[in-house]
Symmetry: C2
């Protein structure tokens, strides 16, 4: 993949607004919009958890100003945290050579 | 663009490691690697500035633990800040309808 950072940044903005604009404040995600976004754009994230309250918990964690909605800045905190966690998992694997390798 | 968040996250990780692995600590960017990454993957960012010390300033700002290198967590802080700034610029434009539109 010949990846351009600008594409990743633009993609993040585009994904957010394509869901935040569905209902209510078009610049913020309500709980329903956040859940739909995570289900459709981060497939496997919600389904990997057995916690039916996961979206509510994420919403509460992200919603720093407690207005019941998630703005873009609050949203990128989630994406950043997940990306850092993924990176640590994969570099941890590589350093320890503890992950299974494909032959 | 039908954008998947996972692609953006994977892209961020891939871009970082394709530059951090060039020399020295393969899990961190030194100043040269950061500069090359910004020039090649964020075209226009460095060239839009007239400040010859910009890379040094970014390096100092990002390098929270002052080890002279930027790890992945420090790097995503830059990407996140730039993405939030871009988002605010574009939503500000839209809200104020102050930006020129293409006909």
């Amino acid at each position: 993949m010949n990846y351009n950072l600008q594409d990743a940044m633009a993609g993040l903005i585009e994904v957010f607004h394509s869901y935040s604009g569905k209902e209510g404040d078009k610049y913020k995600l309500n709980k329903g919009e956040l859940k739909t976004l995570l289900n459709e754009k981060l497939p496997g994230f919600l389904s990997a958890s057995n916690d039916p309250m996961l979206v509510e918990k994420i919403m509460n964690d992200l919603d720093e100003n407690q207005d019941g909605e998630v703005d873009f800045q609050e949203f990128v905190v989630l994406v950043t945290a997940l990306t850092v966690a993924c990176n640590e998992f994969f570099t941890g694997c590589e350093k320890e050579q503890s992950c299974s390798k494909k032959d």
